[in-house]
Subunit: 139 residues, 2 copies
């Protein structure tokens, strides 16, 4: 993880543009081996730095308004393998090693487990775990 | 394109949640053959429907505040091959046939043509065209 820590003290570090969207940028997580897009979430400056410091992905939860270490409940953390930035410096693409093989809180490999067919969103993704067993049943 | 047109008249059509972000949802464009993530942009209800009607991707330009048919200047349109929706119905993943083999206005295949290495954003993407020749030189 020395590689990522180094970024934080480098004055030439690329500046991510957090201004366009109230301090947030969208972040795409992609499986570093298969290329499957796993999820999209948001980062602010704090979680961007936490991600660099720790080498595991931290998002900003818009609904809970707090730091969200991906996998904090399920154990399915995302190890950073590669970070890419887009032409406008306002979107990140992070290639990850998805621990537990499932990124979605509904138990699927990818949050994009539904394809649109004939007007419906049809599930065709692979389910890896039962959310009730991982997070506890909803009462 | 009959397949996509059909979506517009289907009452059971999946409802995309445009409310979380002032009428917009983030949209990831991914090359349908290679799996390379090409770009991220935004859609509103209007450009979502335009995309379904026409079978080519239309975004909403946040900077220009107008409908943006991707490739309208360069000819590099994105033909829709598959549409996926995430678990919260607030993000789209569209697999596309990228005409012209380049999605980025800077001439690269992908907008994510820079990887973060030792604190710098280092270009390692493939450049397909010279933007000055496609869009005209900036005066």
């Amino acid at each position: 993880m020395e590689f990522f820590r180094k970024l934080l003290v480098d004055k030439n570090m690329v500046a991510i543009d957090f201004k366009k969207q109230d301090g947030l940028v969208p972040v795409i997580a992609q499986d570093y081996e298969t290329g499957e897009v796993l999820m999209l979430a948001f980062m602010n400056q704090e979680t961007w730095e936490l991600t660099l410091k720790t080498g595991v992905v931290h998002y900003w939860s818009r609904s809970r308004k707090k730091v969200w270490k991906k996998g904090e409940s399920s154990g399915n953390v995302q190890e950073v393998k590669e970070i890419r930035v887009d032409c406008d410096n306002d979107t990140l693409l992070i290639k990850v090693n998805q621990i537990g093989k499932a990124a979605c809180h509904e138990g699927y490999r990818s949050c994009f487990f539904r394809v649109i067919k004939n007007g419906d969103a049809v599930v065709d993704g692979e389910r890896i775990f039962n959310p009730d067993e991982v997070y506890g049943e909803k009462k």
